[in-house]
């Protein structure tokens, strides 16, 4: 759910109906279901394009994205500059390509950080239960009381703008989703026979959690990660749009829109392509996420 920055709704749906059924044959079936899902394939194509753009930006970009050329400022899309130039004469296409790097990086790092914090918290809460569960889940509730974008803004506001603080803020905002899903899956898994077997053999709690429960809880987490990429990318764009995220001259889709809104009347092309890039990217991750959910758990097919 790319939901702009909404609180997670899908997590409950995933976790409640999720049953650990994915073993090898199941995995092959899931893959073939995914391959037959045209929407998910479209999502994958979008993501592939994004990855290629991000990795090969220096080779693909026709101009240096930071070269200021005031004599060619605000040029409409044309032969020399396919998507036009911005208020400082910088090539918009080149800046879009470099902006893809920021978006992809923010998406990956946020999902990894938030996932690590959240999954660790969820595993402990679900497996150990009792006091641990109460404390961790109350903490989740506290974080969920803040609208995502408000908390992210507040953290960036006190820490200062910039990529690192954006990543910290987004990880702190999004970990709760992973915690809730990991917990609810572990609550089911810990009663499985193999978990009892491991306990009987004297395996320690951390070992059971990481070696036995985590691998079987991967499926719903993968779905969350895909949707989470889209969320993180749009949240970064929102922060940068407000001037609180990536700072100039660094190219980011959100900060390009921040500039673009000032030229909406006279040079709307400044705002069209960066917004389109965000929209299509988020759509891609959403489509893949929905496809993964359908593939990994056919019972949820809608």
């Amino acid at each position: 759910m790319a939901k702009s920055f909404g609180p997670p709704q899908d997590d409950m749906k995933i976790s409640v109906a999720y049953r650990p059924t994915v073993h090898n044959r199941g995995r092959r079936r899931a893959l073939s279901r995914l391959q037959r899902n045209r929407a998910a394939l479209a999502g994958m194509v979008v993501i592939l394009v994004l990855v290629v753009a991000a990795i090969f930006a220096p080779f693909l970009a026709p101009y240096n994205p930071y070269t200021v050329a005031l004599e060619t400022r605000l040029q409409s899309p044309g032969a020399a500059h396919l998507l036009g130039t911005d208020e400082l004469g910088r090539d918009i296409l080149s800046r879009l390509l470099y902006g893809a790097r920021v978006s992809l990086w923010v998406g990956i790092v946020t999902v990894v950080l938030a996932g690590l914090i959240g999954v660790a918290g969820g595993l402990v809460a679900g497996y150990l239960g009792g006091y641990w569960d109460a404390v961790i889940m109350r903490l989740v509730d506290v974080f969920l009381a803040f609208p995502v974008i408000v908390l992210a803004i507040a953290i960036v506001a006190v820490r200062g703008p910039g990529l690192t603080n954006v990543l910290i803020a987004l990880a702190l905002v999004y970990w709760t989703t992973y915690a809730r899903v990991a917990r609810s899956v572990v609550l089911i898994l810990r009663e499985e026979e193999y978990a009892w077997a491991a306990r009987t053999l004297g395996a320690s709690a951390p070992r059971i959690m990481v070696r036995h429960l985590l691998p079987n809880a991967i499926a719903p987490l993968v779905v969350l990660a895909s949707l989470g990429m889209g969320n993180a990318i749009v949240a970064e764009a929102a922060l940068s749009f407000l001037g609180l995220g990536i700072q100039p001259p660094e190219a980011s889709w959100g900060s390009m829109l921040n500039v673009g809104i000032g030229f909406l009347r006279d040079a709307s092309f400044l705002s069209i392509t960066p917004g389109l890039a965000i929209f299509v990217t988020v759509l891609g991750f959403n489509l893949l996420g929905d496809g993964l959910r359908d593939a990994l758990d056919p019972r949820l097919r809608t």
Partner: protein, 318 residues
């Protein structure tokens, strides 16, 4: 009890915000040019020269009596500044919510009744796009199309508060203010509500489709009930149970999105106040706004929880 614990946590997290600043928060707020005496004065004013637990106790004490300190730069109580701006934000959020529920519910129900029809396919494609659409970009596109190109709607600002405008209409029989207020409200509210509209319509569709396949719906049909009665009396009430939860969760999303919508449309609400206070490094004001937002969200979630018990007899709260 649970709510109280969460509220205490919310207060603690908001309180901790000011201590997340890299370095001395007072120095950050006043800048490098401030004299040591000024720094010391503000530090004392904010109570930052006290031990942490004393600070937090004082913070809680003030909160309980409804005080959130004074804005550093506007020299007014934070509570008053927020109170002045809150109605505008509430108006915008409620309008967006009404749009989201109205359009989302209608579209979702129609889609579920004629699945895979042209209407359904188009509606669900739009909804899919709506869920991926960044609020701020949608707002810019709206301004571009409806304000700059077509000239139908104003591109920014707020008319009279909607309540006052309705009052003027009733009192003087002149709908001018009301129309003006609606025209100003239209773009921001539609922009803000788009995401929730899309989400709700997708959810209603899938929930209703699932319910329509249940045995009791078949029974109702076998009894010879009209389609309208089946959907209205039997299917929809059950399908709406999960939808209510999501609508409750959307309030937080909308309040957050309002910050972006207010920025784009120069809507004089709490969101703009938040950005302004951030740019001025007016931390007490930032803290106050963040806290009030979280309190509002918690309160609404509590109401939704209670409502949930009322509409779903299977859930009973002890």
């Amino acid at each position: 009890m649970h709510t109280l614990v969460v509220l205490l946590g919310v207060a603690l997290l908001t309180f901790a915000l000011i201590h997340l600043t890299p370095g001395d928060p007072v120095l950050v707020m006043l800048g490098q040019d401030a004299t040591p005496a000024e720094l010391e004065r503000l530090r004392h004013l904010l109570g930052l020269d006290q031990p942490l637990y004393v600070q937090f106790a004082q913070y809680l004490g003030r909160l309980v009596s409804g005080q959130m300190g004074d804005s550093i730069f506007q020299h007014q109580p934070v509570a008053k500044l927020i109170g002045d701006r809150l109605p505008a934000t509430v108006e915008l959020t409620v309008a967006a919510m009404v749009i989201a529920i109205g359009i989302g519910l209608t579209t979702g129900v129609i889609s579920a009744l004629v699945p895979y029809s042209v209407f359904d396919v188009v509606a669900m494609f739009v909804a899919l796009s709506g869920v991926a659409m960044p609020v701020f970009w949608l707002g810019m596109l709206g301004i571009l199309l409806f304000a700059l190109q077509l000239g139908w709607l104003p591109s920014f600002g707020r008319g009279e508060p909607l309540f006052d405008a309705v009052g003027n209409w009733v009192r003087y029989g002149d709908p001018q203010d009301f129309v003006d207020a609606l025209r100003h409200l239209a773009l921001p509210a539609l922009t803000l509500g788009a995401f929730s509209t899309a989400l709700i319509s997708r959810l209603v569709r899938s929930a209703l489709l699932e319910v329509l396949g249940q045995d009791y719906v078949r029974t109702a049909r076998a009894k010879g009930l009209q389609d309208l009665a089946i959907v209205g009396r039997h299917a929809l009430p059950n399908a709406l149970i999960p939808v209510v939860t999501v609508i409750g969760l959307q309030v937080g999303t909308l309040l957050g999105g309002a910050i972006l919508a207010e920025t784009i449309f120069a809507w004089p609400g709490v969101g703009r106040l938040l950005l302004q206070s951030i740019n001025q490094r007016d931390y007490p004001l930032v803290q106050g706004i963040v806290l009030v937002t979280a309190l509002l969200v918690s309160l609404i979630n509590l109401v939704v929880d209670l409502l949930y018990g009322a509409i779903n007899p299977r859930v009973r709260y002890g």
